[in-house]
């Protein structure tokens, strides 16, 4: 239900209060992430124009669960391919030269194609699902984050704003902005 609420609440999502910092240097952003995480701020949102390994390592994410859905989708497709062809062969038997009604080798082609098809489609569905489910709504965004700037958003309460801004600036943020709810 949480997912449904998130989808429904899309536009009306409350803006989260906190601090947004922009970085032009990747090592500065990585320093800031490490320092924030060391201080216990683990709820960060990091924006980047392209995926970056240093940022990923600093955030210490576990492997995305997308792969599980890819596997399930692929296996479902494979099973469906064999089940459909075999069942349909017996539903209207075409007996040619007394040979077996459902012959597996030609059906491998169908099962293979459906494995790929279902695997790919379930992967995309999984990305949409996990991005919404595990994402944070209401985090502020800046158009430069898709261009050449790395952004870090730290959701926090007003009394923490000062020290966090200090930390971000000393790491090398080019710009720090406060977001109120």
């Amino acid at each position: 239900m949480a997912l449904l609420d998130r989808i429904k609440g899309g536009r009306a999502a409350r803006r989260l209060p906190g601090v947004v910092a922009s970085f032009l240097h990747v090592d500065a952003a990585v320093d800031a992430i490490r320092a924030l995480r060391a201080k216990g701020y683990r709820n960060l949102v990091v924006y980047s124009p392209a995926p970056n390994h240093e940022i990923e390592e600093a955030l210490e994410h576990r492997v995305s669960p997308v792969r599980l859905l890819t596997l399930i989708g692929g296996l479902t497709g494979c099973t469906a391919g064999f089940a459909m062809t075999i069942w349909m062969s017996y539903d209207w038997p075409l007996i040619v030269g007394g040979k077996t009604i459902a012959s597996i080798p030609p059906y491998v082609v169908i099962a293979f194609e459906l494995t790929i098809l279902m695997g790919a489609l379930s992967t995309v569905v999984a990305v949409a699902f996990f991005s919404v489910l595990m994402g944070k709504r209401g985090a502020p965004y800046d158009p430069r984050f898709s261009d050449d700037t790395i952004g870090i958003f730290v959701p926090t309460t007003p009394d923490q704003l000062g020290p966090i801004e200090q930390l971000l600036r000393s790491a090398g943020a080019t710009e720090v902005r406060h977001e109120s709810a």
């Binding site: 124009p49 995926p51 995305s64 792969r67 209207w92 059906y107 082609v109 194609e113 158009p143």
Partner: protein, 454 residues
Amino acid sequence: MAVVAQPHEAPDVHVIDQTHAEVTRDVVATLGPPSRGYVLLLFGAVSLFLIGICTFLVLLKDGLGHAGYNPPVFWSVYITTFVFWVGIGHAGTLISAILFLFRSPWRTAVYRSTEVMTVFAVMTAGLFPIIHIGRQWIFYWLLPYPNERYLWPNFKSPLIWDVFAISTYLTVSTTFLVFGLIPDVAAVRDKVSGWRRAIYSWSSVGWKGTDNQWRHYSRAYLYLAALATPLVLSVHSVVSWDFASGIVPGWHGTIFAPYFVAGAIYSGIGMVLTLIIPLRRALGIEHMIHSYHFDNLAKLTLLTGSILFYAYAMEYFVAWYSGNTFEQTTFYRRAFGPMWWAGWSMIICNAFVSQLLWFRKIRTNLTSLFIISIFINIGMWFERYVIIVSSLSNDYLPWAWDQMNPTWADWGILLGSFGWFGMWFLLFAKTFPIVAIQEIKEMIPMPRKRGGHG
């Protein structure tokens, strides 16, 4: 130290000497107002497409009698063109998926345009079996759906495998293309204003480039590439089995699957060259796609062209070595029969012309590459025409032998297919980033406060 061949250019020549902001700026600039040349090309494409539509309307009204079918040849230009367009698609998937898994950095600059080519080529190809079946309005009989006669498709037939292979290929390559576009569309969204911003906002499906989004996205992209990879090899194998599982002399060869796959990639790279050599100039992205990329594309062409050369030689050798008179007659007539001109066009354009690419001067000269790419396109169309038509025209019963000659209905649909493909490709190039912004940025090291690059 052992002697190692030195690359002729610096090893990191594929790294584009630009900042992230410049990449966004240059790619967004390709979406600006169209030039006169673009409008003329689009006009040409739409005109060809209209020729195709008019031809199709006549076929719809009167039936396939207008096409040049003549017994015993009942598969001709439409099936030839179907195989031609499916083949074109394969180079795109090779470059976008297989070279992604191989971590070939040079693919980044060209893969979006090849992936677009794949989707539209397969989309074009998919129309041909439907045109060919004659009663186009009941094409859905090919699909397994519950019907009142309780009939199901015959899954032992290669033609049904084809239905599944082509529709899977179209779906997966479209998914792969659209999925790869999402971050780029978001980058365009953040640079434009007004109604364009509204459209790009909607089509970027809420992409913000957060760590959470990238984390799932990068993984998923890897899996999509891994899933698309076997399709490169399987789809054209299935297409080749449409022929190879028939017992027609000239078709019934075990070499068909690898032969067709190599031919598909060869023809596809030919089409890539035909498309991106003019496109890079028209869109002002010459600094992103340059001689390094063309050299690599040409090497792939040389590799697949040489595999084709081997396959052609092997077909003739096996025909002779088999001692089978029907097989021998078919291959004798390919070279010296009534269709000798088509047979030699195929051998010269594919096997011989590709061998010119051994020379680096030719590989890095865009004019010569463009001319070679036109030869490849023509040669590969003729290859399928020769395999299909010449094999059918002389099968086991000499008294039934006959030739077919394509009519206006065949040429009209063929021209229309080029127009239809060109129209979509041109429209895409002005609507969406034809160079992958996000992947190029991934290749460019981000600036560091402590100086230096990554």
